[in-house]
Point group: C2
Chain length 282, copies 2
């Protein structure tokens, strides 16, 4: 496994791999790797014969500078994990390497970026799209792997790739959960044991909605959301930022469930913000 | 020479050429080809062994819909010209092929896009950057050729390529001029014979400034611009939109010429808008 810090060194390795006719799989991450990342990497390993992982905490996607500062980082542990799963190349650039001098260019998917997460994290998806576009130009992968845990991000990146004709296939992988159902996230390490139940309230609300649709046939989203929200608001120090049922393709709000939908939510404990979602097909 | 209308067909041809180890040269155009384009293409032909030209009048870079409608189009003549110079591939997509369904993704170089031309054509460079980014993803050229006639465009595209790590070399080619000095432009066909002198006023102003710098050693830009402007304002129906002396790298205004500068201007005759520029090195 090679570990490189410079863009030029990535290009060299990729050029060599492409010359050998290899298929390039790519998993972009912000490090603090968990089972969700490992699942993406294993999918990449099963489909590609040259596998690249990047670790880069991208400052321009953090609307809150404090969130950027305290975002978990554990590069040595990450490297050990990646050695075990046997990826070929790890790209660990510095902020200077990625945004040398003044970076003035931004990639933005309008519309989709301003709803849901976008409302609470202005500029977030612009930062995500810009860095992903840069990483795609550096790694030039055949396939890139993203988790459904960040459903809106996945949908926006698919749209960017389509709109800009970027020659990469975006592969979405299912959300990985901890034993009690909490969606795997680098931010979970912040959750205090006493607050576990509060952190799980969002997932419980999602499961409740799923049950009501699949087992009781309730399709009116106002009823479903009311019931879901009631589970979360029981906890006074859990702030429900949003809970919505939207179209699976264009993220527009749905009144009655008739096709594939996404149920997405975000909650904020006093010291950590968590998101989760489920897909419901009727 | 192959002529294709579909993105997938471009990808097929490029894949084949790359497999044969060929170097891809690319000249993106809006058609209505003139000697400026031919010069770009000949430079491409001299440096690359698979040469692609695109012809696409890109609606999203026109801030004025009327300007888009009346932009000169002569595809049959263009194709004949391209056959003569012997390019390998001509890509002539429809608007639908380039912007199918809803295209919501934009690429923007902030800062540089809001000065000079950007002030008079809001959104213009965002449209240019977006389509050029798309075309680069489709053609995946090793080198792409742009004329210094559109100096600000060239500088912005170089910045975009650098900021987004796009793997292409941008080659700038000198402005080609008609016999009387008028910069070659697809819009020149609109100029009435009686208005030729008015159309040339901008070039005369640029040459006057160049003379004052190189022959008389005048370096104070306020004196230079005053003199230059006086040549243009002599014509009552020529609107001078701007005439500026700016830094060659970052387009910031220059007070005293000490390094390489760009002198750029735009004038508007009642029925046609013209731009031109010169580079001065002291």
């Amino acid at each position: 496994m090679k570990i490189v810090k410079k863009i030029d060194d990535v290009r060299k390795e990729i050029k060599k791999a492409k010359k050998e006719g290899k298929t390039i799989g790519f998993v972009p991450t912000m490090g603090a790797l968990h089972n969700g990342h490992i699942s993406l990497i294993k999918t990449s390993l099963s489909q590609c014969n040259f596998n690249v992982v990047s670790i880069f905490v991208n400052p321009i996607q953090f609307n809150d500078p404090e969130d950027y500062q305290r975002y978990p980082r554990d590069i040595n542990r990450d490297i050990e994990l990646l050695k075990k799963v046997k990826v070929d190349l790890v790209f660990v650039p510095s902020v200077e390497e990625m945004y040398k001098e003044r970076a003035d260019t931004y990639v933005e998917v309008t519309g989709l970026s301003n709803v849901l997460e976008g409302k609470f994290r202005p500029g977030h998806f612009k930062g995500v799209c810009t860095v992903v576009c840069k990483l795609f130009n550096i790694v030039q992968p055949d396939r890139a792997y993203f988790g459904w845990k960040d459903a809106q991000q996945l949908i926006i990146i698919r749209k960017m790739v389509k709109d800009l004709n970027i020659p990469v296939e975006i592969v979405g992988c299912p959300t990985i959960r901890e034993k009690d159902g909490l969606a795997a996230s680098s931010r979970n390490i912040f959750i205090k044991e006493d607050d576990r139940e509060k952190a799980l309230s969002l997932y419980k609300a999602l499961k409740k909605i799923e049950d009501m649709v699949l087992k009781k046939g309730i399709k009116d989203t106002s009823i479903l959301l009311e019931e879901g929200k009631s589970i979360i608001v029981k906890y006074p120090d859990v702030e429900l930022q949003y809970l919505e049922i939207v179209d699976f393709e264009d993220l527009s709000p749905v009144r009655k469930i008739e096709e594939k939908v996404l149920v997405l939510g975000a909650i904020k404990l006093p010291y950590v913000r968590l998101i989760d979602n489920i897909i419901i097909e009727v």
